[in-house]
């Protein structure tokens, strides 16, 4: 392979190479530094006189004396069944002291788009054992449902609890977890690894670790390596794969850094104008394919800068993913775990995975009614602060009470508490029964007489 020593400029993670033979767009590039270290990169722009290479590692050590080798192929990931149980770097190299991965296949990490016609509609209910998810923001197999959190909130524990407790009732099909860390601290990484070891999940997991002190640009490829692995496990080996990506905020920062180095016209708050498209090329790699056994379910985690949900990172994410679970500082301060605020949370695929034949016929309407009650009760808290409880009508006082009960009993649960969906829905009815029945306008009479604690068969009439 030809090696060029024609680097003319280095700016941030970008290396400019002159006078090459025709080089393909998107090609994998190896840059050899003076001490023999090989750094990987990718062609971002190619023309007859200049090639721009984005390096995935630190450019420290790269100089005019470095050799540049164009490999003639796009970046590939070696994949194989033996990857389960392995820990790899953010660049895909084993870091657990084990042997190199023996590849059964080498797959392009960009991952082609799933043809929408080939997709099957996700509709299998995943019971996470967490009421605010199962009851009001249901996760289904093949969904991409991110956790919107912020610094200092227990999103990692929520993700771990989901990973640990998730099950599809009655299913015995093989499952796996792919975990990709981008720029998280060693301490956070240890927290995940310990829990995986404690629960034995590691055996069925593939872990990619790009830590806070690893090169930032490597974060651009880490989620793609993870998803390529996940797609292989799911669509070629027939497994149900849960992918956890954390922290997508660090990914986006890396993206911004490259944009800045390329002197692009920045979009909102300095993030590249193409960030929506770029994030979509990650998040859309979830789903189910008609006629194939496995599935890819994604739980990306991101921390909202300044707790601001309108910040471009959560905003663009929410526009792509199929809902979001929002972690709230206010609930956290009240000592409620998991501090999930259901109001801004959403599962767009919920309707496909609940109801008769999935969970229970009353699921949707119980959820809607709890939302309505909690939203109104929550609004009233602001009012009470101004006018005092006494100025409230009887109806409003009950709603206020309901909001408290909802947080204390429905939202709050233990880190190891695994509630069944029936527990969750019955708990919902218990809380709703504290409101006058005529206020339950979202629920039809049939369901009330069947499930309402005061009316269902066997209930003693007051």
């Amino acid at each position: 392979m030809k090696e060029y020593r024609t680097i003319s400029k280095i700016a941030g993670p970008l290396v400019f190479v002159e006078k090459t033979e025709p080089i393909g767009y998107g090609e994998l590039v190896n840059i050899v530094t003076f001490d023999g270290t090989i750094k990987r990169g990718q062609v971002l722009d190619t023309s007859d006189n200049l090639v721009v290479v984005q390096v995935f590692e630190t450019t420290a050590g790269i100089g005019r004396d470095s050799g540049v080798r164009f490999t003639g192929e796009t970046i590939k990931m070696p994949v194989g069944k033996e990857m389960l149980g392995r820990i790899l770097s953010g660049g895909g190299k084993p870091i657990d002291g084990g042997p190199e991965i023996v590849p059964e296949k080498r797959l392009d990490i960009t991952g082609a788009a799933i043809n929408p016609y080939a997709r099957a509609s996700p509709n299998e209910f995943i019971q996470t054992g967490i009421s605010t998810i199962d009851g009001t923001n249901t996760l289904v197999r093949g969904q991409k449902l991110p956790i919107f959190s912020a610094a200092g909130l227990p999103h990692n524990n929520i993700a771990l609890q989901i990973a640990r407790q998730s099950k599809v009732i009655g299913s015995t099909e093989p499952f796996a977890v792919v975990f990709a860390a981008m720029g998280i601290t060693k301490e956070e990484a240890n927290h995940f690894m310990k829990d995986f070891e404690r629960t034995g999940a590691l055996e069925r997991a593939v872990v990619f670790l790009n830590l806070a002190d690893d090169p930032a640009v490597e974060r651009i490829i880490t989620p793609r390596l993870a998803l390529t692995t996940a797609e292989y496990l799911a669509f070629e080996l027939g497994m149900h794969v849960l992918v956890i990506l954390t922290d997508m905020t660090n990914y986006c920062e890396a993206l911004r850094q490259i944009g800045a180095a390329r002197e692009e016209v920045p979009g909102r708050r300095g993030y590249p104008g193409y960030m929506y498209t770029d994030l979509a090329s990650i998040y859309e790699r979830a789903g189910i394919i008609k006629g194939l056994k496995g599935s890819v379910t994604q739980i990306p985690i991101l921390t909202m800068p300044g707790d601001d949900i309108t910040h471009p990172i959560p905003d663009l994410t929410g526009y792509i993913t199929e809902g979001q679970i929002v972690v709230s500082r206010e609930l956290h301060r009240k000592g409620i775990y998991p501090p999930i605020n259901v109001l801004p949370s959403l599962s767009r695929l919920m309707n496909l995975g609940i109801g008769k034949g999935h969970t229970r016929e009353d699921h949707k309407k119980v959820s809607d009614q709890m939302y309505a009650g909690y939203a109104e009760g929550n609004d009233l808290r602001g009012l009470v602060a101004i006018v005092g409880k006494d100025a409230l009508s009887e109806r409003d006082r009950m709603l206020l009470e309901f909001a408290d009960l909802f947080e204390q009993r429905f939202v709050k649960q233990g880190y190891d508490e695994d509630r069944t969906i029936v527990d969750t829905l019955d708990l919902g009815w218990d809380l709703l029964s504290t409101l006058p029945v005529e206020q339950l306008t979202r629920i039809d009479r049939d369901l009330i007489s069947k499930y309402h604690p005061k009316f269902k068969a066997g209930a003693t009439k007051e």
Binding site: T310, Y371, G382
Partner: protein
């Protein structure tokens, strides 16, 4: 000859000089703007978007990885065009009209590149029934025959840019879209298919002012902010506020005859949902499967961005084609913001001078050209047809002051403002009744008068007033609490709550409530008004607000939404309300 074959003497072969994502540069290449070209050794499809000195700049509709400088570029001499003819309905296409089902057959579950696939099935035979005979005069746009495409009759037309002439011969029988079915005296031969360049609006004889509403079965739309057939509407809203569900509801239940649904840069699973759901749904008006009147375009967020840019043009051209047959077509584009972002992405690769927030300076022009293709028209054939366009807008951070929302609002006539506050409390459709607007109210007034009830327009104004009043009262409540409101106002608050919870809220996922015809809308509103009237009389007779608000019979009203044959139940409730209020008055 439908699409102009450009000068055949030009050099159709060029060489690639630079590749930068979806934008490539060719040299030694003669081309015209918007020519379709084949890029590189794999002949990827692209379109000329800029000519500058020696360089021709091309946007490529497929992934360009691995393409090198020095590879060839070939000019087809054609414009980006769609194939129009029987076989469009029930189909799902990508942004450049490649049938996604064919792509699955040719390249498997993932979208690879370098595969072309014609928009129409060319081997399928259709039963052609002529509607003109030898010696008849036809012009561009004339209907010469028909084909039973699905339950929809497909009119076969003379392409609109042809001059026509006298029919020399016309056949009847079973043909493919490539077979000649009609020959004119001047030798022109016509098939059941035509090609039309997507960026050029199809001509019409005349544009008319819309006067009939597009009935959608959604109470807040038909009842408060109607769109006319041939009109334009925008649905802006932050993520999760209900743009897609509203668009899907329109695609399902609106009384258009043809529906074109464009998933432009949005989610794959949403298109799959439409694909799995629609075939099982039945048009409430015709009793026929909804899929049979539908064309889907799916260029999801992770599919090539240049093809996303093209997808709205592909969609609207297909819509215009069915309009030309005399049909009422409605087109939904979800989301026009992703289209605008595709323009921005391409523009920034071209290193054009950016306008507001990086969007190209021609953003406003492109948006208005697009919406201008909507309308109620007299077709070239003399019939009438319409295209209604409903575009979703996805403002960053839900902030409506951004360029795409603002430029769209300047053009469209109906504005359904989605509100995150409403969606968070699961008030759906989360359309804010105070910020939304329809400029068709005046022109549609007579229709509602005639077709719904002479009382309807008054009832609508009354409801809007109550809601407006509630908003003012809420401001007071925020300061002093609801108990401090004067007595009449407490009843206004109650009536407003009823309008919101009973009339405005409509669950798309409830089997019955998903669609509500105009008659039922009227009946529901009338019974809320009945309660308001009874309350006013009772109050005048000395009944207290808490007795009125605590009255029982009205509590059954919300259930009406979930009942299909609601009439008997509604009459029962009205009677009970009446009796209850009589008793209250008597006791006062």
């Amino acid at each position: 000859m439908e699409v102009k074959e450009k000068d055949s003497k030009i050099d159709k072969l060029g060489v690639l000089k630079r590749i930068s994502g979806p934008v490539v540069t060719a040299v030694n290449f003669d081309a015209h703007m918007y020519d379709v070209v084949k890029v590189g050794n794999e002949a990827l499809m692209g379109e000329v978007i800029k000519i500058q000195g020696e360089e021709t700049i091309i946007q490529v509709y497929e992934d360009t990885s691995g393409i090198r400088p020095g590879e060839p570029v070939v000019n087809t001499g054609l414009s980006l065009a769609v194939e129009l003819g029987p076989g469009l309905l029930t189909n799902i296409y990508d942004g450049i009209q490649r049938p996604l089902s064919v792509l699955v057959d040719k390249m498997g579950n993932f979208i690879e590149r370098g595969v072309s696939a014609p928009g129409l099935p060319h081997d399928k035979k259709w039963e052609f029934k002529p509607l003109v005979k030898e010696g008849d005069k036809v012009i561009g746009g004339s209907i010469i025959g028909e084909v039973q495409e699905t339950n929809i009759v497909h009119k076969v037309m003379v392409p609109p840019n042809q001059k026509g002439g006298t029919v020399k011969s016309i056949k009847s029988g079973s043909f493919t879209v490539d077979d000649v079915v009609c020959v004119l005296e001047d030798g022109t031969s016509l098939t059941m298919m035509q090609r039309w360049p997507v960026r050029v609006p199809r001509p019409v004889k005349e544009k008319l002012n819309p006067e009939i509403p597009l009935i959608t079965g959604q109470r807040i739309l038909d009842g408060l902010f109607p769109i006319a057939k041939g009109g334009t509407a925008a649905i802006p809203g932050p993520f999760g506020s209900g743009k897609t569900v509203t668009q899907q509801q329109l695609a399902k239940w609106s009384d258009a005859e043809i529906v074109v649904y464009i998933g432009c840069g949005e989610r794959g699973n949403e298109m799959t949902e439409v694909l799995t759901e629609f075939p099982a749904l039945v048009d409430p008006k015709t009793g026929k499967p909804l899929m049979e009147r539908t064309v889907l375009i799916a260029n999801t967020s992770n599919m090539p961005v240049a093809a996303r840019e093209a997808s709205v043009y592909t969609g609207i051209t297909i819509a215009e084609y069915y309009r030309d047959m005399g049909y009422d077509v409605s087109l939904m584009a979800d989301s026009t913001s992703r289209w605008a972002e595709a323009m921005r992405e391409i523009s920034s690769r071209l290193e054009e001078m950016p306008g507001e927030e990086g969007y190209p300076a021609y953003l406003a022009a492109r948006l208005s050209e697009f919406y201008e293709r909507a309308g109620l028209v007299i077709t070239l054939a003399g019939g009438n047809g319409s295209v209604s366009v409903i575009g979703a807008v996805s403002p960053p951070g839900g902030d409506f002051s951004e360029p795409v929302t603002q430029n769209t609002l300047r053009i469209v006539k109906v504005f359904w403002a989605l509100d995150a506050k409403l969606s968070q409390r699961r008030h759906f459709p989360a359309i804010n009744w105070l910020n939304s607007d329809s400029l068709y109210l005046d022109t549609l007034h007579d229709w509602y008068d005639r077709e719904v009830s002479p009382e309807w327009n008054t009832l609508r104004s009354w409801a809007m007033e109550v809601l407006q009043k509630e908003a003012e009262l809420q401001e007071i409540v925020q300061l002093v609490g609801s108990d401090a409101l004067p007595e009449t106002e407490q009843i206004t608050i109650e009536v407003a709550r009823m309008i919101r919870e009973i009339f405005l809220q409509q669950n798309a996922y409830d089997e019955v409530d998903t669609f509500c015809d105009m008659k039922k809308q009227y009946d529901i509103m009338k019974s809320i008004k009945l309660f308001a009237d009874l309350s006013a009389t009772a109050q005048a007779a000395g009944v207290t607000p808490s007795q009125i608000i605590g009255s029982k019979a009205k509590n059954e009203l919300p259930q009406i939404k979930f009942i299909k044959d609601y009439k008997p139940e509604l009459e029962k409730i009205a009677k009970e309300m009446d009796e209850e209020f009589n008793a209250l008055r008597a006791a006062a």
